[in-house]
């Protein structure tokens, strides 16, 4: 499902102009990372995707739906949004119930809900914890419950707001494998992140925001090599990319493997 954002401007009631004319097209099945300093407008932008915020000017289309004409609950059929803090949404007695809450709201038939819950439990490695109380789990696993509760809604578009914040390496790896699986299934995934390595290793398209505008938009390689523009919004390229740049490698590298390949080519040349 396509996302079409046209000249989106948003002003908060307190007068802060958070988005100044953002236009983006995100095609079905794309993996997109959004990066930029705090206050750049990243969260404000993605809150427009499911109607939590409505444009002051411009418009946002999710497929053929204009977000201004549909309620948040309705848009939840198309856009799943994983909030930063899982504690702000968990309320049931068991993990499985928590995961079933979203699909039940969407009115799916019983059998489909069961399959979706099983699938979400499997993707997040929560199968053995299904009947535990979410609050008895560690914060990293609570995060997985929150992720699973959105996965089970089976929406064509998924938004993650800083999924790796406060997560250990194992949890970050799980998130990476979930995102890879979502890509295989043809879902559109947007992720806000400050974790630049996570961004470089898992996303094809990177959008850089600063001051309520899109500063850069392109493939990870195109974007992450532009140190100067990234510095405007206080983002450092991944260490491996900077090392490649300092060594004067001809191409921009984003992962250790790419670095090794490029370095080998240079040595043998």
């Amino acid at each position: 499902m396509n996302i079409q954002i046209e000249n989106l401007t948003f002003r908060y009631p307190n007068g802060v102009l958070a988005l100044r004319g953002v236009s983006l097209h995100i095609a079905s099945g794309e993996l997109v990372a959004i990066i930029g300093q705090n206050g750049a407008g990243k969260t404000t932008l993605v809150k427009h995707l499911n109607g939590l915020l409505l444009p002051s000017q411009g418009r946002v289309l999710i497929g053929d739906w204009d977000t201004r004409q549909y309620s948040v609950a309705k848009l939840a059929q198309r856009v799943g949004y994983v909030f930063q803090n899982p504690d702000e949404q968990l309320f049931t007695k068991t993990v499985a119930d928590e995961i079933a809450f979203g699909p039940r709201n969407l009115g799916y038939p019983k059998e489909r809900i069961e399959t979706l819950v099983e699938d979400a439990l499997h993707l997040t490695h929560l199968e053995t914890m299904r009947s535990m109380n979410p609050y008895d789990l560690s914060p990293t696993w609570r995060k997985m419950v929150a992720v699973a509760s959105i996965l089970a809604m089976d929406t064509p578009i998924l938004v993650f707001d800083e999924p790796t914040t406060g997560q250990d390496a194992a949890s970050v790896a799980r998130l990476a494998s979930i995102i890879a699986e979502l890509r295989r299934r043809g879902k559109t995934v947007l992720t806000i992140t400050h974790d630049i390595d996570f961004c470089a290793e898992n996303f094809e398209r990177v959008i850089v925001m600063g001051g309520g505008q899109v500063l850069l938009d392109g493939t990870a390689k195109d974007v992450l090599g532009q140190e100067e523009i990234l510095a405007q919004t206080y983002v450092d390229p991944p260490q491996i990319t900077r090392l490649g740049l300092r060594l004067g490698l001809t191409e921009v590298v984003c992962t250790p493997q790419e670095f090794l390949d490029a370095f080998e080519r240079r040595c043998s040349a």
């Binding site: 404000t44 939840a76 059929q77 909030f83 949404q89 309320f91 709201n105």
Partner: protein, 259 residues
């Protein structure tokens, strides 16, 4: 983005620059005369001659009048109607309908009472708008108020805006999961459970975290503490406080004298 954590509005004005204790005294310097001085027009005059100009002096007139319209007027208005209709006595009958009589005396009495309420709530509103809660607390603890008291007061002042901010995030998160909070009444009632759970639990966790955080900074230590905030107490403040004390005393005496 930034949720307001108190009613305080950061501006630079003579009222903002006053010492918090002076402003606290000012509240009582307004309320006591409004209630005690037996001269009929006292509360009305205080409101027009002192409170309104103070709102302009503090450069918070817009917020002050907005708050008054939403907060004070309905209460004062209700009181006015109740008292005007149900206070017995009074000879000059103005209107009569069914068992209700409206006399000139009860009308005047009700009007004065409504004005007293206005003065009382107004002066508190002005105080809250121009005084940062932590400035007030720093000042009072430096003058010897026990820290525990200060904490209770400041936590009370801040809990509503904090809970509100938290509730808004929770509502947004659950609506994103397809929770319908907008249609029929029955659905809204059912929608409460997923909202109240995280709110209550989150608040409890927050209380614990806060207790640990302040204890980590030596909250219950009995040694004298220094403060990061320098709170100015100018001679003007001291003078004003003495003057206000005199006003309060005069109000009390006038009450005793004339009745």
């Amino acid at each position: 983005m930034h949720e307001r954590l108190s009613f305080y509005i950061k501006r630079d004005s003579p009222l903002h620059r006053l010492n918090p204790l002076t402003k606290l005294t000012l509240i009582f310097g307004l309320i006591l005369p409004a209630f005690l001085v037996p001269f009929y027009w006292t509360p009305h005059l205080l409101l027009i001659v002192v409170v309104f100009p103070l709102a302009f002096l503090g450069r918070v007139q817009r917020e002050y009048f907005a708050a008054s319209a939403r907060l004070i007027l309905p209460v004062a208005g209700f009181l006015f109607v109740m008292q005007a209709l149900f206070i017995p006595g009074g000879e000059t009958v103005l209107a009569k309908a069914w068992f209700l009589t409206l006399t000139k005396e009860s009308l005047m009495f009700a009007f004065a009472n409504a004005m007293r309420i206005m003065v009382m709530v107004s002066s508190f509103t002005l105080f809250m708008l121009t005084t940062h809660p932590s400035e007030l607390m720093s000042d009072l603890t430096q003058r010897g108020l026990p820290g525990q008291f200060a904490y209770v007061i400041i936590a009370t002042l801040q809990i509503i805006p904090q809970m509100q901010a938290k509730a808004n995030t929770i509502i947004a998160a659950q609506r994103s999961r397809g929770l319908d909070t907008e249609s029929s009444f029955a659905r809204r009632i059912r929608a409460l459970v997923p909202l109240v759970g995280p709110l209550v639990f989150g608040s409890l966790v927050e209380v614990e975290e806060r207790a640990i955080a302040i204890e980590a900074r030596g909250f219950t230590s009995s040694r004298p503490k220094t403060s990061l905030r320098e709170i100015v107490d100018r001679p003007l403040d001291k003078g004003l406080r003495w003057f206000l004390l005199f006003v309060m005393l005069a109000a009390l005496l006038s009450r005793i004298w004339f009745s």
